[in-house]
């Protein structure tokens, strides 16, 4: 059971790009600036309803409108069209120590920041010990924050944000600054929040974080929602989007830089097949022998090249990879199409579904082509293990004398 806490309907945001700012420039360019006013839609017709207690990741390439959307939810920017409605107390953790005044001490800033998030002085007094304890910077609390390191900044900022008892917490790409123990502390805290039924909206480029933490992910691209659903599906969409962008980049490179020394040969991977016992399979029992067949086509002679493949989990976490160079195999020059077999004697990977990718690189290691999700495979097991590897573990009483 849950209730919507954020409702975004038909939300669009337009920015006008104007380069003249002073009165003189505006007067001189009055007619021209009217004509050449650049419009830029940061968000276009976004519809999202977020239920209480859910954790949403907003992901997408740079400049796709993630942060703008977060600011609209936070009420910092106003929509050009559409509306954002919400309920409950909102706390925002938007940027490293925004709302910290460098000349004030940590203590004074805690009070200032807490009041920015809507806490009264008495409430802050009450939470102060907890905030201090969470931040772990007791020694420096009476130092001016301009002397803080960026890690100390974010510790204090996060400590305040999680203590204001928000119903909705907006987080914009800040957690990456703290050291590992602190990051873990933050993650634990966020998990605690999830337990307590709070809603978290997270903007991040850390796709693993999304896979790990979120129960829903929204992919934005140039202001449009291109995927909205379970993290694994959204992440797949985003990764293929990234892959497409990279592919375009490589192609552009190939078509423009004809005479440059870093010229990349024209070749690509046509497909990947997963075979067991000589026949294509979609599912194998754990431990079965496997052949990964990679079909390569070279439109011009391909010399001194490297062929590789890799295995990823469904959310895109890489678990295995190898290539001809690592295997110590020198591939002869190729002109035309040919298939190569990577032979795996036993598929000792854990139960689950996996994706295979193949890649071609030149001798320097620069990527020529990469085919993501060229094949998929389910590994079936009896549920004796968890994790990504199959270790054939058994349990017996120890024979050693006590």
């Amino acid at each position: 059971m849950s209730t919507p806490v954020i409702e975004i309907e038909g939300l669009s945001k337009r920015f006008v790009i104007r380069k003249d700012k002073s009165l003189k420039e505006r007067l001189v360019n009055y007619h021209r600036s009217k004509l050449h006013k650049d419009d830029f839609w940061a968000l276009r017709d976004v519809n999202i309803t977020i239920d209480s207690g859910s954790t949403i990741g907003l992901i997408g390439p740079n400049g796709s409108g993630k942060s703008t959307l977060l600011k609209m939810i936070g009420g910092i920017m106003q929509p050009t069209m559409g509306s954002v409605h919400l309920r409950g107390r909102v706390a925002a953790l938007l940027e490293l120590g925004a709302g910290f005044h460098p000349d004030l001490t940590g203590r004074e800033n805690v009070y200032l920041n807490a009041s920015l998030q809507g806490l009264t002085r008495r409430q802050t007094d009450q939470y102060f010990e907890a905030i201090l304890d969470f931040s772990g910077i007791e020694r420096f609390i009476d130092t001016q924050v301009k002397f803080y390191s960026s890690g100390m900044y974010v510790r204090l900022a996060f400590a305040v944000a999680v203590h204001v008892d928000p119903d909705i917490l907006l987080v914009d790409e800040v957690l990456a600054v703290g050291d590992e123990p602190f990051q873990r502390k933050c993650m634990d805290r966020i998990r605690g929040f999830q337990h307590e039924g709070r809603t978290i909206v997270l903007v991040t480029h850390g796709l693993d974080t999304v896979a790990e933490l979120c129960d829903r992910a929204v992919v934005l691209e140039s202001g449009h929602v291109i995927a909205d659903g379970a993290p694994r599906d959204s992440l797949r969409v985003l990764r293929s989007e990234f892959e497409q962008a990279r592919q375009d980049d490589i192609e552009r490179h190939q078509s423009t830089a004809d005479s440059s020394p870093t010229e990349l040969p024209r070749a690509h991977i046509e497909g990947i097949e997963v075979l067991s016992g000589g026949v294509p399979v979609e599912e194998v029992p754990v431990g079965a022998p496997l052949t990964v067949r990679v079909h390569v086509r070279a439109d011009e002679p391909l010399e001194n090249w490297i062929l590789g493949f890799g295995i990823e989990t469904a959310v895109g976490q890489s678990i295995y990879g190898t290539n001809s160079k690592l295997l110590g195999v020198h591939l002869p020059a190729l002109n035309g199409a040919l298939a190569y077999d990577f032979t795996i004697p036993a598929t000792d990977i854990g139960e689950g579904s996996y994706m295979f990718h193949g890649a071609i690189a030149n001798e320097a290691g620069a990527e020529v082509h990469k085919l993501l999700e060229g094949a998929s495979l389910n590994v079936a097991a009896e549920g004796r293990e968890t994790g990504f590897v199959h270790l054939r573990t058994s349990l017996t009483p120890s024979a050693a004398l006590r």
Binding site: K71, I76, E95, S115
Partner: protein, 321 residues
């Protein structure tokens, strides 16, 4: 945990949906804005403290500097205008006279000047957190009034030392003038801070206008001198002179300055009433109290108007900064 979850869910479900950020609408939003700001009193308080604390944070003498400027101005005007230009001869207790005017002027110029820059200066905050943006100009008003209180204390102490402590209905003039000053200055701070976001030239313009306005108020010279100059000479009074006089009195800061002088410059009452060129010269314009009250009403309307303009413009602050 599960229980907490349920409680939160029920509380949330009971709450109505509200739009994110400020409400739109020119006329409807007045009460909403007042409610928004007053619900964030705590923040206003904190921001005011920040303004006060951070201003002279790393200086050794710290707070003393907020006093140094008006005292230096007092000294300069006292010597240059009082002694050298001889204004002292026609103005009894010249130091008190000038300090009363300077004290009111200082708080006015602080509110307008710092208020104009308050939105741009807090860009980092405005772009990151939503709070009713009115709190930034208002925090400047708060911190300026704090400085004002200290100067006022010195002024009152000086009148007491000279044995001419203001009593009776003089305090009424003080209260009325202060009200006009604060309301009028706050209105300007709202208006100018919002416009300054779109047109940064405003902050430079404000400095110049403030300088002109200061000399257009009877701070370092007396109202009597103005009347004398505008009375004409040798039986001739150009018809524009009464209009200039009216215009001069339409400046709210003229009225405020006169009100402050009426309140604290006790020796000023001894100024004689005279007739020059057929024009009656009085120490204070007739009906000063009524004029101040009228000006207060105008300022309140102006404040409302400024706040509405501010509310209208603030929706684009985050992207314009």
């Amino acid at each position: 945990m599960a229980y907490q979850h349920e409680v939160r869910l029920q509380e949330l479900a009971a709450e109505p949906m509200r739009p994110a950020g400020p409400r739109q609408g020119f006329f409807h939003g007045t009460f909403q804005s007042i409610r928004d700001v007053s619900s964030r009193r705590e923040l206003l308080n904190q921001l005011t403290r920040r303004e006060i604390k951070a201003r002279y944070k790393d200086s050794v003498l710290g707070f003393f500097w907020s006093l140094a400027k008006p005292l230096a101005m007092l000294f300069v005007y006292y010597i240059a205008i009082g002694k050298f230009l001889g204004a002292q001869r026609s103005i009894p207790d010249f130091a008190i006279f000038i300090f009363a005017g300077l004290t009111s002027w200082q708080v006015f110029s602080d509110i307008v000047n710092l208020g104009t820059g308050s939105i741009v200066g807090n860009a980092a905050l405005i772009k990151k957190v939503y709070v009713p943006r009115e709190v930034f100009p208002l925090s400047v008003v708060g911190s300026s009034l704090f400085n004002f209180a200290i100067q006022l204390f010195i002024l009152i102490a000086a009148t007491a030392t000279l044995g001419r402590f203001p009593t009776g209905d003089r305090w009424l003039y003080f209260a009325l003038s202060l009200a006009v000053l604060v309301v009028f200055a706050t209105a300007l701070a709202f208006l100018l801070s919002a416009i300054n976001v779109y047109l940064r030239d405003v902050q430079y313009l404000v400095e110049i206008l403030l300088m002109i306005l200061m000399w257009a108020s009877p701070i370092v010279y007396s109202w009597t001198l103005v009347q004398n100059a505008l009375a004409g000479s040798n039986g001739v009074r150009p018809p524009i002179y009464p209009w200039i006089e009216r215009l001069y009195l339409a400046n709210p800061m003229t009225l405020v300055t006169l009100g402050f002088q009426k309140a604290f410059w006790v020796a000023g009452d001894a100024q004689p009433v005279s007739i020059k060129n057929g024009v009656l010269i009085t120490p204070y314009p007739p009906g000063l109290g009524r004029s101040l009250f009228l000006m207060l009403c105008i300022s309140v309307v102006l404040l409302w108007f400024s706040q509405r303009v501010f509310a209208r413009l603030q929706s684009n602050f985050a992207q314009e900064l």
